[in-house]
């Protein structure tokens, strides 16, 4: 059966902060290099599943100098983080819209996070990867929906999902079992019931409320970097502690103490430090606003496809000329056709 101690989740996917930062850095650098080399960062999936950078190498461009000046700006690591965060929230919303069980959105978000440890956001389109992650997570969590159903539900092309499936699996190194904090949460609550019954007659009602509140906290924790840094048990307890601050259902300190007494492997102090770290991470991270994301998204589009940048520049020029035209029509000058740029 599923045992965390022997799982790949524990072996490969719990990292330290330095490791995390390093991986993001590597992916980002690689994408920037590709941008300089090929002019575009996007990676395309071929028929046989191999990945290719389709942009043309800049040295062979005829108007090479022009290209250099209009090279799109790559995303910084922080911007990448914001984009990722936005799409992770989107995953949660999509899963809620489909009324999937809770664990599916957790698994999908984790897949998404893990995938973007290997690859940069500029290289694979986050929207496609998001859909593929949801699809895969449904498969893994034994709640299969066909790609067509998924496509119909959100009006997206199911072929995109199927094309990217293998890429995502490879990006995850085929480590597909994910431990979400929800079951650990239930486990700790059961334990808490026994503990509480021993001391006073706090009603089960209060514990139920605590459970619901803690689930909300877990949802927000999942959106941060924490699942890659801490184990699900720690996340669950931290969420319980945070929820308890408001609900006041149980004396958390005493419960933690009794837990540590029963399992002497963990010390009270270490656990508290961990929970503090988790809390600070959660408090510090914020959900990006739509307005902030618009410029980043545009940048991303240009990185992936610099052709769009030139097109939009042309369009801007057209618009400017049109507005000039309109204003000049009122006067009788004949300078209208002065611009030779309508060579599309």
């Amino acid at each position: 059966m599923a045992d965390f101690q022997t799982s790949t989740h524990r072996q490969h996917w719990i990292l330290s902060r330095q490791d995390l930062a390093q991986k993001y850095q590597i992916a980002n650098q690689r994408a920037i290099q590709m941008l300089l080399k090929y002019g575009a960062t996007r990676v395309e999936v071929q028929q046989d599943g191999s990945l290719v950078y389709p942009g043309t190498p800049l040295e062979t461009e005829r108007n090479g100098t022009e290209r250099h000046t209009s090279l799109p700006e790559p995303l910084t690591i922080d911007e990448e983080f914001l984009i990722r965060r936005y799409y992770e929230l989107k995953i949660q919303q999509v899963c809620a819209a489909f009324a999937f069980p809770n664990k599916i959105q957790a698994t999908a978000v984790l897949f998404f996070k893990r995938f973007y440890l290997q690859w940069s956001v500029m290289e694979h389109d986050p929207k496609h990867i998001m859909l593929t992650c949801i699809y895969l997570s449904c498969k893994v969590e034994e709640f299969h929906v066909s790609a067509e159903e998924l496509g119909k539900g959100i009006q997206q092309d199911p072929q995109v999902v199927l094309k990217n499936e293998l890429t995502v699996l490879q990006g995850l190194h085929f480590d597909l079992i994910v431990y979400a904090p929800y079951r650990s949460l239930d486990g700790f609550l059961f334990d808490m019931e026994n503990f509480v019954q021993g001391t006073n007659n706090s009603s089960t009602q209060k514990l139920q409320e605590l459970k619901e509140a803690a689930k909300f906290v877990v949802d927000t924790v999942i959106l941060t970097d924490c699942p890659l840094l801490f184990t699900p048990g720690q996340l669950a307890l931290a969420a319980l502690r945070k929820a308890n601050l408001e609900e006041r259902a149980v004396d958390f300190e005493r419960y933690l103490q009794s837990l540590c007494d029963r399992h002497p492997k963990h010390t009270f102090k270490e656990l508290t430090l961990t929970f503090d770290a988790i809390d600070t991470t959660v408090d510090v991270s914020r959900q990006p606003k739509e307005a902030d994301l618009m410029p980043i998204d545009r940048k991303l589009k240009y990185c992936r496809n610099p052709g769009l940048q030139d097109e939009s520049k042309k369009r801007e020029r057209k618009v400017k000329h049109k507005s000039k035209r309109v204003s000049q029509d009122t006067s009788m000058t004949t300078t209208v056709d002065a611009s030779p740029m309508y060579v599309c």
């Binding site: 965390f4 079951r183 184990t231 048990g233 656990l271």
Partner: protein, 207 residues
């Protein structure tokens, strides 16, 4: 194509043996063409040899092709009418035979539901056609007797105690039923607790 189909139907009403045999080769049962049986029946065993039977079939195909293509339509129709007359007696005899077979099959089919009722008492009362297994005689037992297969085209599916909605199910009964079903599979509520607890305590530490 539709024209050919309708012509084949008409011919089949006259020459249903052809349809039946063709379908037999394809593995269909004759039940689909039963309703087409009007006139007469000629089967393989009616013919002295395989060659003769094949000749007959070829004749039928010729007729059909002629009618479909509109070649010599009148002559073909005359041929068909003549054939009908010649074999009128045959038609009647074969038809009777076919009807008899059908009735026998239906009887056997109907024989099943009487015995397969899941109500234990009825099973016990129905004393014996031979071949009953002992468990089937237990009152209150839900066993169905296994019968040798192939004696009827299809066994009638019987759903168990809730087949007829004589007792309207409310929420409570439904929940009880689901829980009973889960427990029959070895599940207990305790398993959920144990698993959650194991995962919680096991995943608290990396090292």
């Amino acid at each position: 194509m539709n024209k050919e189909v309708s012509i084949r139907r008409q011919i089949a009403s006259l020459h249903p043996a052809h349809v039946g045999a063709g379908l037999r080769i394809l593995g269909f049962t004759e039940s689909s063409s039963e309703w087409k049986l009007h006139e007469y029946n000629k089967r393989e065993d009616d013919f002295p040899s395989l060659r003769a039977y094949n000749d007959y079939l070829e004749e039928v195909e010729d007729i059909i092709i002629n009618l479909v293509e509109g070649v010599d339509v009148q002559a073909t129709k005359d041929k068909v009418a003549k054939y009908q007359e010649e074999n009128a007696e045959q038609i009647v005899a074969s038809r009777a035979r076919k009807a008899e077979e059908q009735a026998a099959a239906l009887r056997q089919e109907n024989g099943f539901p009487e015995i397969k009722v899941s109500n234990g008492e009825q099973v016990a009362l129905q004393a014996a056609p031979s071949g009953q297994y002992a468990p089937a005689l237990l009152p209150g037992g839900l066993y169905m007797q296994p019968r040798p297969a192939g004696s009827g085209p299809q066994p009638v599916p019987v759903g168990g105690p809730f087949n007829n909605d004589s007792v309207p199910e409310d929420e409570e009964a439904r929940r009880v039923r689901i829980e009973r079903a889960a427990r029959a599979g070895g599940w207990t509520a305790d398993i959920v607790r144990k698993r959650a607890l194991q995962e919680a305590l096991g995943s608290l530490w990396v090292n």
